[in-house]
Amino acid sequence: MSEKQKKSTRVAFAEALLEVGRVNSKIVTIAADSQSRYGQFVKEFPERSFNVGIAEQTMVGVASGFALSGYIPVVTSYANFLAFRAIEQIRVDVATEKLNVKMVGTDTGFSSQWLGFTHLALEDMAAISALPNIVIIDPADAVEAFEATKAIFDYEGPVYMRIRGRKEEPILPIKSRKFEIGKAQVLKPGKDILIIACGSSVYDSLQAAEILKDKNIDAMVVNMATIRPIDEKTLLDLIPSFTKVMTVESHNIRGGLGSTIAEFISERGINTQLLRMGVKERFGMAGSDEMLKQAFSLDGPGIARSAEKFLNEKFGR
């Protein structure tokens, strides 16, 4: 995999926001001292940029007021402070009414690094997914973050998109870059094991597939950028052909991708075994993202090791 091209998902979000903001004058940004995440938009459209101070609840309430007045507000903050501090405003003000508010949680997964567990966002999707009506998106790389940002403004209704930090990340070798909400994409064909990943774990899953190839294990890798609504059609097409399915996410295994796939498999009665990779029954901790991914076995080698072990486990009891 070429790593020459790199870009931060946060920068990509800001670039896409500027592009859609130039065309659609209804878009306004509301910040809770988080205006830097909106990049150039704030400089080009100061009259459509509002900062309410370090007050996430007010940020979401104000966004609701704008949405109820015909505007399309965006809110952003560290994902934990958006998804947890303001969860009740998201529930009562935004979700019940399906208000057209775009919520962007940043620095998700391990990308807060040394800021420690307060900032490492590993349960944000679980909080948001407990509430009806909200689309949840976790883009794999900067190009996808750019395309997804454009797509969420074409969609009418509340969206939670989780992106990462300023750090430049590899652009993935994906041919088709058309982004559709609720559409999964097979990035690598394979027949021995199905790896379904989202967000930054897509890169690590592709790395794992390379490692597995050397061990004669042919893994299929699917990018499930939309966690809700989940792409049931693709899941139904793919899962029954595999006896072993893995999910990989930079998130707790509850309330995100892993849970969603587990629910799907069990409720459809599909005869396959699932291994959920992610963070289990614990919070994050301070460390570089490489260290953290390694510690949670969510780097390429860690995922490959788990896949190999999982394949060798006897199916069923």
Binding site: E47, T58, G65, S69
Partner: protein
């Protein structure tokens, strides 16, 4: 502004009907926050009868003034006002907490014409109103946003986040009316978490403040006719009120936060207050 005696009479009548409807709805349903509705009846009557511009036939008219009942539990008063102002037929009031998924639940929801925001969880209304006020300025519209909060509600920190930011953004098209009935669910506010000096708090947050008698229709009308109180500042009106106002045995009693009359009590006072028959179909 000097309102004439005819107007004054009609506003008093509106307020009286709000009280009667609130008592009627809550007794029929056997549930409801009656005390907190009675304390805001006069303020709601002045807002809907005199101050706000709106079109009940076109509830989403972009230029309308907005009203948010941040203390959503006071909704009995709002429901009556909306019916009296023509947003829907009065017969709908009989639906209050009376059928599954009613349009008139125990806290107001936007599915009922005239309700601008879902409220019921305290501490949400000011921020939503703030967003509407900012949107109004951005769109060069001259509508105002009126928010009624409870006094106990002000113990929620989110109100003060929004208060700080609203003053910073100079939202002089935003008006918060505090229903200062001095009681909350469990006790007097000052026995639970002291609010006083309340006017000084709003003043120190950068708001123009006025303390009024929340049951004096003329005084309410006068102050709400002079919004903004100060150009460039949001307005905070602290309305001194009595919880349960109009029902002598309920006035200023903590238990009337979430209590309703029995049918026997209702029938006892029915003639004295000229209330409607409870009439169940």
């Amino acid at each position: 502004m000097n309102i004439d005696s005819v107007k004054l009479k009609s506003l008093e009548k509106l307020a009286e009907q709000i009280r009667k409807d609130s008592i009627w709805m809550s007794t029929r349903a056997g549930t409801g926050h009656l005390g907190p509705a009675l304390s805001i009846s006069d303020i709601i009557a002045v807002l809907y009868g005199e101050i706000m511009k709106y079109d009940p036939k076109n509830p989403s008219w972009p230029d309308r003034d907005r009203f948010i009942l941040s203390k959503g539990h006071g909704c009995l008063a709002l429901y009556s006002a909306l019916a009296q102002c023509g947003y829907f037929d009065r017969t709908l009031l009989g639906e209050f907490c009376n059928r599954l998924d009613t349009m008139l639940p125990g806290h107001p929801e936007r599915k009922l014409p005239g309700v601008e925001a879902n409220t019921g969880s305290l501490g949400h209304g000011i921020a939503i109103g703030m967003g509407m006020a900012m949107a109004g300025k951005l769109a060069n519209k001259d509508y105002r946003v009126f928010v009624i909060t409870g006094d106990g509600e002000l113990q929620e920190g989110s109100n003060w986040e929004a208060a700080m930011a609203a003053a910073h953004h100079k939202l002089d098209n935003l008006v918060v009316i505090v229903d200062r009935n001095k009681l909350q669910l469990g006790d007097f506010t000052e026995n639970i978490s002291q609010l006083e000096p309340l006017a000084k708090k709003w003043d120190s947050f950068g708001w123009a403040v006025k303390v009024i008698d929340g049951h004096n229709i003329k005084e309410i009308t006068d102050v709400l006719s002079s919004i903004p109180l100060t150009r460039g500042k949001p307005s905070a009106i602290i309305a001194s009120t009595i919880k349960g106002k109009g029902l002598t045995f309920a006035e200023n009693k903590v238990e009337w936060h979430y209590k309703v009359l029995t049918k026997e009590q209702y029938n006892e006072i029915k003639d004295e207050l000229s209330l409607e028959e409870l009439a169940y179909e």
